[in-house]
């Protein structure tokens, strides 16, 4: 751009603008450290400042090129080479590296590029940005685009990566608005109206601007804010793309089996998409995997574990010891096409799997019990298989009398808790179990604790713990409302606080019985949907093994779990919530929803469809409104023109002509009431250097002041009309 534009603006203002640009650009650099494996962020920052410094000095282009280029190679040398900058070796090294990388570039082997080359490219980008921002901020003084881009960039990173943009967004706000304010004033001064205005060399007038921006930032920061009104976009989008239920994390999700449990909490909507059908004689909980490390927010695995191939599809994973009585049984699972869980879903006591395809390899993770299904090292979803299993009946006497576990590693691993777990969790666990001696009774006491004491099962309005909050602590003491993850995690954590080894298990409940007695074995058919994804607790008893427990309100473990007919008193002792009838057991969520929506209890899935679809419809509606508002002139013009051409009558032309008057009024050409159309048209024509308004007006005058109203609209007139509107709308 021309230099004369800047002549009357002191250097200090352009420098302030440019520094604002630099600060905004640095906001782009800071997250690089966190979201990539870049190590030398400081060097990039220094190089950025260096480039910006040289740009603002406005030295000759060749000097600037030389200095910035020198900077690039100096950095490359310092970071990647042991040789001195001027040594021959360094240059040979450099050339060899470039040669290799350029070949890789041409071969499109992006991942083969060396770190040095990538650094070079990144430095060049910084170099270019220093020019670009100089152009945007100092020369054309258009700050808006880059500011908006910066906001978008930071918010996207905040949403989709680990980068926490709480402070950066405030910094960006302050810098961007200061820059916008200054740039606007400078632009005004440069415009013709203020050409004679001489800007003071002392930037005192910026102070009020700074004060206003800071004040609004502080107010904005301190003002109370609503909780997020929209679902976390990541799971939301993934849901939209995959169509399957995914991780139990985030704010509102669709329920279903997911991988990522590192952030628990938040509401979800039920999803009754079928996952599989189970043909079995008795109800079973289907186990998929367990997790052993509680972070304070959710569950992860402390180590990846090794995967062992299951020879001949014989399952070597055992949760209970051979002393436990078990009945051999068999069940068949057939999966829905939409199901996407490339893992074996198995009942307790699974021994052997029979699948249709013989290529399938079963890989067991011995730590978690996860069994991957793979074909040629690729994860596959099996369409169906049958599993032979020994349905266990856990001996309560043995459990009650079991001693301390001997395997120290097992105990260590399964009693770990985060350091910042609030003490009151452990205190509560002690309080609940104070009157119980045996481990079994303690476990049962904690399990029972959740069936009363103010806890409710609900899937809506379940909060996500804040940064300072512990997931379990929040549930136990603050909210007392949640779903299976809240109950099971809390139980595990409380048990662990008592040094009882326990782990968190994920899988599915047995779903809903849809058919009875379908074959000669007397199998019933159960349909398991995403809504049946579940989590529960396993507790280790020495000599018995891992025994499942069910703390979640409204759920009841299947018959084969922990119920021994020999111990009637055990059942009597349990002051649990009244036994729920079969149906409620399958769909406890529905009960809760009914309680909240007494009027709409009949069809849950419909309710959810309207809700999600409602959001989509609302968005579409808003977008439509936006488009209509944005394109209102075009729409109006289109309809008026059509009306004119179709009816060719005076009334249509009157409307069209008055629309022109309205447009002109919006453009600041207010027609005075005492002004005649002719006088007004002359004024408009003078401004637009045209005679079109005059011609239109002459036609219109004949229409409204002359005798009769002939059909006067012809193509010439409508073209004239359209041309004028184009001129007015610019």
């Amino acid at each position: 751009m021309s230099k004369k534009n800047q002549t009357n603006i002191p250097f200090i203002y352009t420098s302030i603008l440019y520094i604002a640009g630099l600060l905004l650009f640095l906001e782009w650099l800071y997250p690089v450290d966190e979201v990539t494996d870049t190590v030398f962020l400081g060097i990039f920052v220094i190089y950025t400042i260096f480039c910006f410094f040289i740009s603002i000095l406005q030295v000759k282009w060749w000097l600037s090129l030389l200095l910035k280029g020198f900077g690039v190679f100096f950095i490359l040398n310092g970071v990647y080479s042991d040789h001195s900058f001027w040594s021959k070796h360094w240059f040979t090294e450099l050339f060899a590296d470039f040669g290799f990388n350029i070949q890789a570039l041409f071969a499109r082997q992006w991942f083969d590029l060396s770190n040095m080359f990538r650094t070079l490219l990144f430095l060049i980008i910084i170099w270019l940005m220093s020019y670009l921002i100089y152009y945007w901020f100092v020369q054309i003084k258009r700050v808006m685009i880059f500011s908006v881009l910066t906001f978008v960039y930071i918010t996207l990173l905040d949403t989709f990566t680990v980068y926490n943009a709480d402070w950066p967004i405030i910094r960006t706000f302050v810098i961007a608005f200061l820059a916008l304010g200054i740039a606007n004033v400078l632009k005004e001064i440069q415009s013709e109206s203020l050409q004679s205005y001489r800007l003071s060399a002392r930037p005192l007038w910026i102070l009020p601007l700074v004060a206003i921006v800071l004040f609004s930032s502080v107010v904005g920061y301190a003002a109370p804010k609503l909780d997020p009104q929209w679902p976390d976009p990541v799971p939301f989008l993934e849901n939209a793309v995959n169509g399957d239920g995914i991780g139990v994390g985030g704010v509102i999700q669709k329920v279903g089996y997911g991988e990522n449990d590192s952030t628990l909490g938040g509401s979800f909507v039920q999803d009754y998409t079928p996952v599989f059908k189970a043909f079995m004689q008795e109800e079973n909980y289907f186990r998929v995997e367990s997790k052993d490390y509680y972070t304070g927010k959710g569950w992860v695995n402390s180590d990846e574990g090794d995967y062992v191939e299951q020879v001949d599809w014989d399952i070597t994973f055992e949760t209970f010891s051979s002393t436990v009585e078990s009945n051999p049984s068999e069940l068949v699972l057939t999966f829905d096409e939409r199901a996407n869980i490339p893992k074996l879903i198995y009942p307790y006591g699974a021994r052997h799997v029979v699948a249709q395809s013989e290529d399938v390899a079963l890989l067991l993770n011995e730590e978690t019990g996860e069994i991957r299904t793979e074909v040629d090292d690729d994860a596959v979803n099996l369409r169906g298989y049958s599993i032979k299993y020994n349905s266990p009946s856990y001996p309560i006497d043995l459990m009650r009398n079991s001693g301390a576990p001997e395997d120290e590693e097992l105990v260590r691993k399964n009693t770990r808790l985060p350091n910042n777990l609030p003490d009151r969790v452990g205190e509560l666990a002690k309080e609940i179990t104070a009157n119980h001696e045996s481990q079994y009774d303690k476990v049962r006491a904690i399990e029972r604790y959740f069936s009363g004491n103010g806890f409710v099962y609900q899937i809506e309005d379940v909060p996500v713990p804040t940064e300072e909050q512990d997931y379990v602590d929040q549930f136990l003491f603050d909210t007392k409302a949640g779903y299976c993850d809240n109950f099971s995690t809390s139980m595990v954590v409380m048990l662990r606080s008592l040094d009882i080894p326990a782990r968190w298990v994920k899988g599915f409940t047995s779903g809903e019985k849809i058919e009875e007695d379908v074959n000669e074995l007397g199998d019933d058919v159960y349909e398991v949907t995403n809504a049946n994804a579940h989590s529960w607790v396993e507790v280790y008893f020495e000599g018995v093994g891992w025994v499942p427990f069910e703390p979640t309100q409204g759920f009841d473990a299947p018959n084969n779990y922990a119920v021994d007919t020999s111990t009637e008193d055990d059942l009597l002792e349990a002051p649990e919530a009244p036994e729920m009838p079969e149906q409620d057991l399958e769909k406890p969520e529905q009960d809760v929803q009914d309680a909240f929506n007494p009027s709409t209890g009949e069809n849950d899935s419909k309710f959810e469809i309207t809700k999600t679809h409602g959001i989509i419809l609302a968005v579409i509606f808003l977008v439509l409104i936006g488009v209509v508002v944005w394109k209102r002139h075009q729409l109006r013009i289109y309809f008026l023109e059509r009306k004119m051409q179709k009816r060719k009558d005076a009334a249509a032309y009157q409307d069209a002509y008055h629309y022109v008057l309205r447009l002109l009024r919006h453009k600041g050409f207010q027609k005075d009431p005492d002004q005649t159309l002719r006088e007004y048209a002359m004024r408009v024509d003078n401004f637009y250097s045209t005679d079109e308004m005059g011609r239109l007006t002459t036609r219109y005058e004949r229409l409204i002041y002359q005798n009769g109203s002939p059909n006067i609209v012809d193509d010439e007139l409508s073209n004239l009309w359209k041309n004028l509107i184009k001129k007015i709308l610019g």
């Binding site: 009558d649 005076a650 009334a651 009157q654 008055h658 008057l661 009431p673 005492d674 002004q675 005649t676 159309l677 002719r678 006088e679 005058e701 004949r702 229409l703 409204i704 002041y705 002359q706 005798n707 109203s709």
Partner: protein, 318 residues
Amino acid sequence: MQETMVYNEKISKVIDNVNKVMIGKEDVAILSLVALLAEGHVLLEDVPGVGKTMLVRTLAKSLDCDFKRIQFTPDLLPSDVTGISIYNPKEMEFVFRGGPIFGNVVLADEINRTSPKTQSALLEGMEEKSVTVDGETIPLQKPFFVMATQNPIEYEGTYPLPEAQLDRFILKLTMGYPSLEDELEMLERTSKEHPIESLSPVMSKEELVIIQKEVRNVYIEKNVQQYIINLVRETRNHESIFLGVSPRGSIALMKAAKAYAFIKGRDFVLPDDVKYLAPFVLTHRIILTAEAKYDGKSARQIVEQVVKQTFVPIRKEF
């Protein structure tokens, strides 16, 4: 339409003639024509020597009409205007000899200098298009067009026209002094021979009567009539106006607007015509309140204010 075109050409020739004699006074010429075509009369109010008489003479000469001039003096008698019956001894009877009012274009110079009795003789003729002499009603010639002049400066020995009689003039015009360039040009042109001597008539009496008939046929839309009514009613409600414009004023405004539209080559009236003519038609038809006069407001200012307050119609109900 073809005929209108022809007449329009004639009208512009008349205006050209006036332009030859009167420099920079085209608007006054057009307004005089408006009055002529609307079958009305003009009151020219201005100081002496700005060309009032010259304008009338030029018009009369261009129109091939019978031009008469009456110089009003305090001792002028009504019979000096209307004419008198004289005894013809030869024929042994009274013979009526018409006065100057029996012309086509009559210049009534300094009308406010004569007695009301004589003034009313002229004004009766203007209104009735006939005069009564010795109990006998004699129709005036057609076309009949009076241009009266009055001097606003002198009050001594003058008889200002009563409001009721001012109403008879469709327009009241002022000439004003010429601009510097126009006055120079005027000296240049009149230095040898006065241009009026070389004028020749461009429109016959008969043609003028036909045009007057055509003007009556010019169309005026309801909304423009409404505009006229609104203007007039506004004068009746205005706080600075003691007496507003009479319905005769509305009619005058409409007639003038039609004539003006015709001169401009249109067969329909625009609000622009009405708006332009309103000050000339309405100013001499209102009486200001004492307060307004005391505040130094002129009737012209008030009428302009009224025009500014009145909405121009820009829609038609279909």
